[in-house]
Symmetry: C2
DNA sequence: TTGTACGCGTTATCAA
DNA sequence: TTGATAACGCGTACAA
């Protein structure tokens, strides 16, 4: 726990000189440098990063907030941010926001992180109200991923939710299905709402009327998904195929789908999707790129505060055909 | 970006009074408090957490370092640490260490985190050499999870690797198998080495001689796992069942196992293990408890630096029988 | 109840 | 090339 002062005293120089040695300032004579370095070693001196941080007024840390770290999609985003951060000598402060069951949690969590004078923040939000972020956004760069901010101008890195959903639904239509269910958690998430739009567009393009009864929500848990699928299969709806709008729902639906096969395409790839029986046909997102671009943008904004940059970047998605679409 | 000073000036009081208001010090007259709070609102004052942190000498942050965030096992550990941290008003600084391909990375990553005067550190290490942590451990509480530290006295929260491997192997023996392969990544990981021991013990208990040729390593990737399984299946080894020592290997082996079924038990549960065909019989660990206990221990050590506490906590594991063991 | 003085560890400024 | 001084924003100790 030696401080710079102590090293300075031991080496018979001023603290500033020690600082210079530490920061590779060329204006230090080789002898002085050697003496200081000797004292540093002797005292096992380690710079106090907090003090530097405090002095500089900006913490070399990027905050990352996601709904759920255990979801591989968000874990991949966090990992990508971390890598990009590392490449810029930044650390990563991670916060989970939950899936929006408690909407106030997001704000509380983000504010506590923002107080820390971060160099930037990447958020995959679980709510839609971000007007309160306005004053923060004026001071530190904030980038949204996966979902756009509500009521706030900020960088956003998204994927083509609507187009992907359209592709996945059309694919089922191409296999001859006309009664196609929509499986999802909640439409309050803008991504899911967009995917529902894509689903409707695909139906419309094929001249299939949209039927509200085929939209089954609350499917993010296993019982929820089982219920939803059971409702869709009843004679009345008479669904023969399902588009799952989100990987959590798809995974939650797997036991049911395995037990009672039904044609299925899904938004969002996930580990082992290709090893299941049937292997799931998915629209794959690219969480790593999302995270990397967002982190890179933060760094860029910090370096060039008034450079004009596009606010919204939409990544394409890719249909990966496996077997679940032709069950 | 108003500071306490500015708020004080605006309210016509000293900075200290503002500080008191902020910290709910009872020794402030209601009128003064009201005036100060008014100024705080006007100036949109937000306390600078960095300054507080610096002043106190200890950052209210728990570091968490794991090999790989995308692995659900480690993601669950991180999530649990985060929850426990939240309950104690601490934030979570996350670092990935990699799977030990580059052994120096672990030290570099940990040292950069440790410099930040953390309140504590949870590590799931990817290397075996931790003697260098000694001086750090003297100053801040460090808890290991999943794997014990090498050459260092520190709290460790582990699971019964050997017993679990023994159970999983015995289970295959109970199904009549005598030529049982061991699938793994690398024996340099102490957990995997322990699981190999458990495997050997199970064989020994059944009077089956151990055969080095049945230990197939390098199976953490899909091609690696495919190779390993192919080697085991050759007429000479003539293996009829496999114990996979680690969830990464199990997941990597899935395509091969699905294509060419073989009796299988595995160490480590993972998402959808029960929805695969066959559903994988596993020995389940408890990452959430591991993370929670470790974080709680850090808090406890910080509060009571010299309370005597057990250094090593070993959690039991649970065999979950599904169908892969009777393929 | 309120205020003054000082220090946390580091670095920028300016002078020597 | 080196050093003295001040400052970052807040909280502690002590005084009034």
């Amino acid at each position: 726990m030696a401080t710079m002062r102590e090293v300075a005293a031991a080496a018979g120089v001023s603290p500033k000189t020690v600082s210079r040695v530490l920061n590779d300032d060329p204006h230090v004579s080789p002898e002085t440098r050697a003496r200081v370095e000797g004292s540093m070693r002797e005292l096992a001196y380690v710079p106090n990063a907090m003090a530097t941080t405090f002095r500089s007024g900006r913490s070399p840390v990027i905050g990352v907030a996601v709904p759920d770290l255990v979801d591989p999609f968000f874990a991949a985003i966090v990992t990508a941010v971390e890598e990009e951060a590392l490449a810029n000598d930044l650390s990563t402060l991670v916060t989970s926001l939950g899936h929006g069951q408690d909407p106030s949690r997001e704000r509380v969590a983000l504010e506590s992180v923002l107080r820390r004078q971060l160099s930037g923040l990447v958020v995959a939000p679980s709510t839609n109200d971000h007007a309160w972020l306005e004053p923060w956004a004026a001071r530190i760069p904030i980038a949204f991923v996966d979902r756009a901010p509500g009521d706030l101008e900020a960088d956003a890195f998204l994927q083509d939710d609507r187009g992907g959903a359209r592709d996945a639904t059309s694919h089922l239509i191409g296999h001859g299905h006309r009664r196609i269910g929509f499986l999802g958690d909640s439409l309050s998430a803008p991504t899911i709402a967009e995917r529902l739009e894509g689903y409707r567009e695909a139906l419309a393009a094929a001249g299939i009327p949209f039927d509200d009864d085929l939209v089954a929500l609350g499917a993010a848990t296993r019982p929820g998904a089982a219920d939803a699928l059971a409702r869709l299969r009843e004679p009345n709806p008479g669904v023969t195929a399902v588009f799952s709008s989100d990987a959590r729902c798809t995974m939650a639906a797997m036991p049911t789908v395995t037990a009672h096969p039904i044609a299925l395409t899904a938004f969002g790839d996930f580990p082992l999707a290709d090893s299941l029986t049937p292997a799931i046909t998915v629209v794959a997102q690219d969480p790593a790129t999302l995270g990397r671009l967002a982190a890179a943008r933060l760094v860029e904004r910090a370096a060039h505060p008034d450079r004009a940059l596009p606010r919204r970047t939409v990544l394409p998605v890719t249909l990966i055909e496996r077997t679940s679409c032709r069950v």
